[in-house]
């Protein structure tokens, strides 16, 4: 039987989809790019914003109409809020939490027959037996970039966020497994590897002394890199400022494989908004982290996440966020307008900022980012950077690459065999969100 899988949302879902594909392939199902051809269609849902979950509803309505003329089994997993979970039970044939992935083939085979997993009511917040999910060997979708999940779940309960309710409690994956997967990827020539977790830098804390800490995990990753003799970059996302320490940054400085790129969600630059969001830190704490990054790894790029128009955000409070952007000079900001999430605490509060105003604030922040980036990027002209080629650029006759700091560089070349290889590129021109350059050197090692 042919299957098709749609993955919505973040890198965690992308990473999870690699395991879903692996399980289905091993069970004998055959991938198809065309959902109309498939007898089995799955979707990994995203609940971070209403728009994301609306996509799921529109698709399942379409697929359920197809059932009038063909046999079709549908399944859903990923990040699903409790209210949607109840509705999806009626709309999808199979719904399961990702930790129960190893049971998916049985669920499909026995579709229509109640199994313990089907009968388990609601979402298990404790991620019981998630180890079985992690032990599924993923079907990596790239030959040079990979994700390694190291932690699942969230205990922070930010008031705007659905993740504690969709992904459950923080659970850390055994470090031995993480390092083994990393070693395998490195030996297979992977060049860019991202350690994933909803609270990646609280890694180990749930094990209460029975697991290494996040800085120690990074240290061991760095040592593995030194021993390997290979060139590769290791990233991590998403960290929470609450758990960020100078030790993490100092370890990053010590090892070449630990990529000098920090993605640190700020969400707001105003203390009172941060209080309402329950972010558990103030902007001064965030500032101290940024100062540590600038001091210890000054070459690092800084990325962030920001929400505009959170409930109750005044013009003055928004201005504090804009000023924070001006101060911290992010290289990239993933900015989103606030979307109340059912189940998240803030859903019970009035959504006070009108949509048009949220959009206006979003545009202001985008302009602020653009302003800084153009100045920063122009300062790079004439310099040479190591970059990992990702494939053909949208601009014809060009390849697209990422620097260690995840800045986008395009350069003229038709050499598709450079994809997945490190090259040196000299920057010749810059725009607000990308750089253009010329190839200086090709890495002869594969």
């Amino acid at each position: 039987m042919k299957y098709h899988l749609i993955t919505l949302g973040c890198q965690m879902n992308l990473s999870d989809s690699e395991r879903v594909i692996s399980v289905l392939d091993q069970a004998g199902y055959t991938w198809t790019d065309d959902e109309a051809e498939a007898g089995l269609i799955g979707i990994l849902a995203c609940s971070v914003r209403q728009k994301a979950i609306d996509k799921v509803y529109s698709r399942i309505h379409k697929w359920n109409k197809w059932k009038n003329r063909k046999n079709l089994v549908t399944f859903i997993s990923g990040c699903i809020l409790p209210d949607d979970y109840e509705r999806f039970l009626k709309l999808f044939d199979i719904i399961f939490q990702m930790k129960d992935l190893p049971e998916l083939p049985d669920l499909i085979n026995s579709y229509g027959i109640n199994t313990p997993v089907r009968l388990r009511h609601g979402i298990d917040p404790h991620n019981t037996n998630i180890g079985e999910f992690w032990s599924v060997k993923p079907s990596y979708q790239s030959e040079f970039e990979a994700f390694i999940p190291i932690q699942n779940g969230c205990d922070k309960f930010c008031t705007f966020c659905a993740v504690p309710y969709t992904r459950g409690r923080e659970v850390s994956r055994p470090s031995a497994e993480i390092l083994a997967e990393l070693a395998l990827l490195v030996s297979n020539g992977y060049k860019s590897i991202t350690l994933l977790g909803q609270n990646v830098n609280s890694y180990g804390r749930d094990k209460k002394g029975n697991e290494i800490s996040f800085p120690e995990l990074l240290r061991q990753v760095g040592e593995l890199g030194n021993r390997s003799g290979k060139e590769f970059w290791v990233y991590y996302t998403s960290p929470h400022p609450h758990d960020m320490t100078d030790e993490v940054i100092e370890v990053m400085a010590q090892y070449p494989v630990l990529a000098k790129q920090v993605h640190l969600p700020m969400q707001s630059g105003d203390n009172k908004v941060l209080i309402r969001m329950n972010r558990t830190h103030d902007i001064e704490k965030y500032r101290q982290i940024v100062q540590s990054v600038r001091r210890i790894i000054p070459e690092a790029t800084l990325f962030t996440d920001i929400i505009t128009g959170f409930t109750g955000e005044t013009e003055e409070q928004f201005e504090n966020t804009r000023r924070a952007m001006e101060e911290f000079k992010f290289n990239m900001a993933y900015t989103a307008i606030y979307s109340p999430r059912p189940g998240a605490v803030s859903h019970r509060w009035e959504d006070t900022v009108p949509l048009e105003e949220k959009k206006r604030r979003l545009h202001i922040l985008t302009d602020e980012l653009r302003k800084h980036n153009i100045e920063y990027n122009r300062g790079l002209v004439g310099k040479t950077f190591r970059a990992l080629v990702r494939g053909a650029d949208r601009k014809e006759g060009y390849l697209s690459a990422l620097t260690e700091g995840k800045l986008i560089i395009r350069f003229p070349s038709d050499a598709d065999d450079l994809t997945g290889k490190f090259v040196d590129v000299k920057i010749t021109s810059a725009s607000d969100f990308s750089l253009e350059g010329e190839l200086v050197q090709i890495n002869v090692l594969a």
């Binding site: 409790p82 209210d83 109840e86 209080i275 309402r276 103030d282 605490v345 509060w349």
Partner: protein, 208 residues
């Protein structure tokens, strides 16, 4: 076990079963085989053998009416503890504390004081009516000020934030704010204006 404090407020006492927590943290409760859950600060102290939470019934709510009907032997699912609304007891005995609460936001302070009965604190509790002075007999009467906005049964008639305007405080005091959004944000501003450094102000919004 339920201990009714008023028509709408009650303390729910649960078996603790060794659940470790730091005073100030919260737990998430839900009835078995249901999806809707709510977070409650632990009301009891760290050394108690039981776990208590202070609940105010919302008549149209999805959870609290059910909690009010619980009988001994009924089962609840507990998740947690969570939260960072804590303080460092290393500062004892020299540290002074100011606890500001509205409504059931008094919960963490009840736990603080049960856990550390010798701490040097002042507690300002804002409610609408005097009957919402939840178990004030558990506190040193010289250390607690009840602010009632809708009747005159409290020591101060008015809101917590009105009382705070004329309150003298040293910048070294560790200030804790717990309650509704509006009170927390107004109190925060007042404390900052009075010279309390931001890092000495700790807050937790109580979800209404």
């Amino acid at each position: 076990m339920l201990r009714h404090l008023s028509d709408t407020a009650f303390v729910l006492q649960l078996e603790r079963r060794g659940l470790p927590f730091h005073t100030g943290q919260f737990v998430v409760l839900r009835r078995p085989k249901t999806i809707v859950q709510r977070a409650y600060t632990v009301y009891s102290g760290e050394r108690e053998q039981y776990l208590e939470v202070l609940v105010r019934e919302i008549s149209v709510g999805k959870v609290t009416p059910g909690l009010k009907k619980l009988n001994p032997g009924d089962v609840l699912e507990i998740d947690g503890p969570f939260g960072f609304f804590r303080f460092n007891p290393v500062f004892f005995p020299s540290q002074k504390f100011l606890f500001i609460a509205s409504g059931t936001g008094i919960s963490p302070y009840h736990s603080f004081i049960q856990t550390y009965p010798n701490m040097d604190y002042r507690l300002i509790h804002g409610v609408k009516y005097g009957k919402e002075a939840y178990e004030h007999h558990h506190y040193d009467p010289s250390r607690i000020t009840l602010c009632t906005s809708a009747d005159k049964t409290g020591r101060y008639h008015g809101r917590v934030t009105d009382y705070l305007k004329d309150y003298e405080i040293s910048g070294e005091t560790q200030c804790f704010l717990c309650g509704n959004n509006e009170m927390i944000l107004q109190a925060y501003d007042l404390l900052v204006q009075k010279g309390v450094p931001v890092h000495n102000i700790h807050s937790e919004v109580h979800y209404q």
